[in-house]
Structures are given as structure tokens and as C-alpha cells.
Subunit: 375 residues, 2 copies
């Protein structure tokens, strides 16, 4: 057992007791009616999370498996334009480069994606656009609606990584014109790690490639999903499906609108604390981008090397920066089932760590956050 009592990472997130309990179910036959019913009910709620009428499939693999499936099934051998302003945008680009003729449209991490360069790439024949909706590594929310509009205008497919937005923030796959969107189980859905869900538009199905991977073949997923009872092509990760099902029932009970409002309130409270501490948000926004509503990335104050270490001593794990942002930022996740107690505890610990690190003029961020949570 680690001493960490509370995970405030941008995923994995703490699991509600009900979700843990659901995983404990004795092994069941995954070709039987109980599994089929859980899959069917799960898909109904996932459609609400995605904002889509398109079919949704659950893959036994992580969010990266979902991204790989999206790009390899629909982009293999094609011209792909990848918008990159953080680590996960880069991962999409890496997957695109393995599968097709990929162009990286790079912005500095945490700065807006380059829509002008995207339009140029589309004019030059890009057949697929990839973008991360909520770029976890930098705490920035990218302009899915604008990118969807540009992709449609140029008849390209739009693959959107919604791994850390779907189920927490507003996602409107159909309205925005997203062709393939992906979510991971261990983020805003507050389910155990190890599953991805993927939704696919009719436009994408019309363009599915012949040379598909075997395990991540989405045509095979669709074929099995149409069976009665609903199935997966190969043995699924049954306990995770049951855990995810329970997590989705909790989302249904809360209601998507209330859930999005809660996520926005939580992240707004964290941002209020950051302002009161006199610290700087990491992302630089333009009129199309916004701060993430599920993870807050904060520029490390000058002269401070680490904040998370002392926070961890208090039993709470927040995230640092990844790759070249290591030591440059810290990140506080506020996704999934978290509410006021977790936020207040975390902000109090971070505030203490900042003061102990000798940061000058650290105001009362905890009180500022409490005011947002309970005005």
C-alpha cells in the first residue's frame, strides 16, 4: 500500500465504492445475457457523454488503444494532419506517422493550435485531421468545433481524442462534426483504467480501410456488437466492463448537464486558488481555446523546483509536467467523481507547500476556492 490517499491526477481518478464493488462480480460468460445487457446499457449512457447518435464501441485496451484503432482503421495509408500542442497531440501524431503520410502542425505546448496551418494542410489534400480536445499535458481545451467545421469543409475525417473531456466537459460529437472520438475509462468517467470507448460516424464507416489491424479491427467490433446479446469480437476485460457500467449508471443518475456544471465549478475553484496564490496559469489562450475544465496546469513559481513532493507527504498526489515541462509546471486534476472535499484538501496542501517553498505573497487560495464552491 502506498501512503497516497487521494489521487488528484489528470487520471487515474479515485473510484467510487460502487464501482469497486461492481468489479468484484464473479467471472461471467462474456457471450451471455448479463454481459450483453451491461454493454448495451453502457453504450446508451456513453452516447450522451459523447453527444452522438452514432454507434459506440468499448475496447479492451487503454485510451491509446482507442486512438490507435481510430487512426489505423480509417487513416491507414492516408494523408493525415495532426494538430499538436501537447504530449497527447504528439501521441496522435506518432500513431498517424506509423499509419499514414502524417504532417505535424506543431504549436508550443500549452499555446493554441494553428488553425491557419490546418486549413493549408487541408487545401493540400489532408484526408484526416487528428486533435486532442482536452490536452491534459498542458491544461488547454482545444477548439473542436472550429476544427470540425474545417474538416467538413474540406471533406476530411476528424479524429478527436476526448480521453479527458468526454463525461466531464461538454462534448458534442454530432454537432461539431467529429467522425471518430475516443474516451478513456479512468478519467472523467471515474471508472477503472483499461478500457476505451470509440464512436464512429457514417462518413468514417464509408472510408474504412481494408488493411486493418486484427485486435483493434473496428469492423469486427461492429459485427459483434450487432449480435444478440451484444458482444465483443474477442474476450473482453469483463471486470472493467462491469466497473465502467456502474460508473456510467452513476453518470446517468447525476445527469450530464449537472456533471458538466460540477466539473466546471471544480476547475473554476482551482483557478480561483491559483489567482489568489499570485501564480500564473500555464496555457496561453486565444479566442478559440480555453482553460481545461478537468485539469489545471500552473506555471511553477520562480525558484521552486517541486511542489508535488511535499503535497504527497500529506497523502495527496498531484501531477508535475511531462517531458520538457518537467519542473516547469504542476497540474491538479479535478475530474470524475471529485467534489468539494477533495478539492479543498488538495488546495490546502498545495498552498502549504508553496509557502514552505518560500514563495512570496501566497494569498488564501483555499478561501477563494471555497467561495467558488459555495458562494
Amino acid at each position: 500500500m502506498e501512503d497516497v490517499r487521494l489521487l488528484m491526477l489528470p487520471g487515474p481518478v479515485p473510484l467510487p465504492e460502487r464501482v469497486c464493488q461492481a468489479m468484484m462480480r464473479q467471472a461471467i460468460n462474456h457471450r451471455g445475457p448479463e454481459f450483453g445487457a451491461a454493454y448495451t446499457e453502457s453504450v446508451a449512457v456513453l452516447k450522451e457523454c459523447f453527444g452522438t447518435e452514432n454507434e459506440v464501441f468499448i475496447l479492451s485496451g487503454s485510451g491509446t488503444a482507442g486512438m490507435d484503432a481510430a487512426i489505423s482503421n480509417f487513416g491507414k495509408g492516408k494523408k493525415i494532419a495532426s494538430l499538436v500542442n501537447g504530449k497527447f497531440g504528439d501521441r496522435l501524431y506518432q500513431i498517424a506517422a506509423r499509419n499514414g503520410d502524417a504532417t505535424e502542425i506543431a504549436s508550443e505546448w500549452g499555446t493554441p493550435v494553428d488553425l491557419a496551418a490546418l486549413e493549408e494542410a487541408l487545401e493540400n489534400g489532408a484526408e484526416m485531421v487528428t486533435m486532442v480536445h482536452n490536452e491534459t499535458s498542458a491544461g488547454i481545451l482545444n477548439p473542436a468545433k472550429e476544427v470540425g467545421r474545417l474538416a467538413r469543409k474540406h471533406d476530411a475525417l476528424f479524429v478527436m481524442d476526448g480521453v479527458t473531456s468526454v463525461g466531464g466537459d461538454e462534448v458534442l460529437v454530432d454537432e461539431w462534426g467529429v467522425d471518430v472520438a475516443i474516451v478513456g475509462s479512468q478519467k472523467c468517467l471515474a471508472a477503472p483504467a483499461g478500457l476505451a470507448a470509440v464512436t464512429v460516424s457514417d462518413r468514417a464507416w464509408d472510408r474504412i480501410v481494408e488493411d486493418r489491424p486484427f485486435y483493434l479491427d473496428l469492423a469486427a467490433c461492429r459485427k459483434s456488437a450487432h449480435k444478440e446479446p451484444m458482444q465483443t469480437p474477442y474476450t473482453p476485460a469483463v471486470p472493467l466492463f462491469l466497473g465502467l457500467h456502474e460508473a456510467l449508471m452513476m453518470i446517468k443518475e447525476e445527469g450530464m448537464e449537472a456533471r458538466v456544471a460540477r466539473h466546471r465549478r471544480m476547475s473554476a475553484s482551482v483557478r480561483a486558488a491559483v489567482a489568489a496564490w499570485g501564480l500564473e496559469m500555464f496555457p496561453q489562450l486565444d479566442e478559440h481555446s480555453a482553460y481545461s475544465n478537468t485539469v489545471t496546469a500552473v506555471r511553477m513559481p520562480e525558484g521552486v523546483a517541486d511542489v508535488g513532493g511535499r503535497v504527497k507527504q500529506m497523502g495527496i498526489e498531484i501531477a508535475g509536467g511531462q517531458d520538457h515541462l518537467k519542473g516547469k509546471i504542476f497540474r491538479i486534476g479535478s475530474m470524475g467523481a471529485v467534489s468539494a472535499p477533495e478539492i479543498l484538501a488538495t488546495l490546502a496542501a498545495v498552498q502549504h507547500a508553496l509557502r514552505k517553498a518560500g514563495v512570496a505573497g501566497v494569498g488564501d487560495g483555499v478561501e477563494a476556492a471555497a467561495e467558488v464552491l459555495n458562494p
Copy 2:
């Protein structure tokens, strides 16, 4: 909740209480020391199960993900000879055909694999051989040692599906010259469904292809496994890792030798019942093949369409035949944590179903099995 109380399928198998409990662990950081320790300890036991000193990696995906990884990482674009005498051999061939220039060496399901035709294919330049060790669909144990010898003789890689033998029956990867072997979590290991483990020889590493899949990239797995603490390249299915870890600790406590002996005793007791019932085993053996020690496939008695239906009414689920064997055979799994009570209950229910179906001369298979279990 289904009314089935006891799964006697060739996987998934009933989960020990300890394994269910282990999955309930609250979410942990998969880049932290607790996860790393569980992965490291798991690998140590898996090496014993595989009979290898080679590295072992755990993939967040089903057994099919493991097979796909094996063939796509080491066989992409190569000449592959696939031995097929059942459904899972066919699956290996299907994966091989997606990835390379594949030749199917077909035998009727449940009859021995064709070693002469394999030698011919190797003489004609096959660079990889695929075979299922324990062909679950037909209840036959295929000659891994002979195939390993032939593959080495012709300098080809040998990919062996050990999904339903590793952890239950004797597997000697190093001694037999298996280059890549795969096991699934929900079979003999008695862990939850959703993970695969793969072991890779130095010969295979030397021949890894450039054009690898992204999610199932075994070079990326190796790179992350060498980190401290041990990691996976992408988010793993954490609860399943913890469940598998507990299942492997149970294997360590039992000891591999005792575990293999138990599996052999259980399947021998099922075969004794089949003989006492006057029924015929489905596999047809030669000097290189054997009956499976983890699943028993029985030819359906004449005039009987179904046995499993009535057995299910008694709360026990056995398996029928797959694809063209539907209605032709029934199969009793005896893998994982099962012992005498589950076997005796199952055989009593099957015996009753046979008698109710009007099969003539059904002897006391239950007593015959009990005699094997407790001589």
C-alpha cells in the same frame, strides 16, 4: 445476475475470492512503486509458468491481443506457416494472413497437426511458424516440442499460443525452442479476463520488424518494463494487473509442479467419466499429440442435440462446439482453481443430462471420476 453458479468452460474460469478482492483496490498511480512491484512479482511467477528465462510482458488486452502482438511485431511482411487443427489455430492463421504471406497447414479440427507439411513449408522458406499448444476448440494438445525442433532446424521463429496451457499444463518455452509464447489471464491462471502475457526470445528480438503496430508495440513494452519502477508504455488495466498478481501469488504458493499434477488429475477424472458413460473422446491422436489436460472435448452421443442446456438448468455452464462443431461435441473445462467439488458437481449434472436425453448404457462416470480423484 444469471442463474449460472459454476462456470466449467475452457475459460473464463471461476475467480478465487482473493483475486476478486485484489481487484477492488482503490485506483493507484500506474507509474508508482506499488504498481511496479506488482508487475515485477507477476513476471517472476509467469516465467515459471512459461518455463523460460526470457523476459515476459503483460499487455492490457485479451489473449488475441497477445497473438496479434506476437505476429505483427515479428512476422509483418514475412512468410508464415500456420498449423491449424481448430478454431484458435485458425485465428492465428487469420492474424498471420493480415500481417504477412501466410500459408495455412490445415488438419481436420481435433486431428493431429501435419508435421510433414510443416517441414515442407519450412524448406520452402517459411520464416515463422504459428501453432496453438492446447487447442481449446477440439480438446487436443499439440506437439510443441516437435514443432520447436523443426522451426529451429530451419531457422524460423516459433510463435506458440499457450493461452489455455500456460499455468495449467507443462510448458517449457526455453527447452522446446519457442520464440514467442502467449497466455491469457482468464484461463489456467484463474485471473480476470482482459490481460495477455507474452514472452520473447533473443532470436525474436533480433528479428523485430520496423513497421510495428502502436498500441501493441513490444519494443515499447520492453522499454517501459526496463524503467524503475517497472511500467507499461500506456495506461494499463490496473485492477486486472492487481487481480492477476494475486492469482499468480496463489500459483507460487501451490507450486507449478503441484498445479500441473492437479490439472492432469482433474482432466483424467473427466476422461474416466467419459469412458464410463460409454462416450467417445473427440480428438484423434497420433504419437505426438495428446488429450488436453485443461479441457475435455467429447463427441455428442448419437441422436442427442444438446447436453449443456439441461446442465445449465442445474446452474453449471459447460461449453458446446464452436462453428462447424456446434451440436457435434460438448466440452468440459477443468482449468484454473477448480478442484474435486466443481468436477464432481459438473460430472453429476452431465451424467443426469445424458440419461434424461435417453442415451443408452450411461455408466457411473461420477464414481469413476471420484476413483481418480481419490484412489
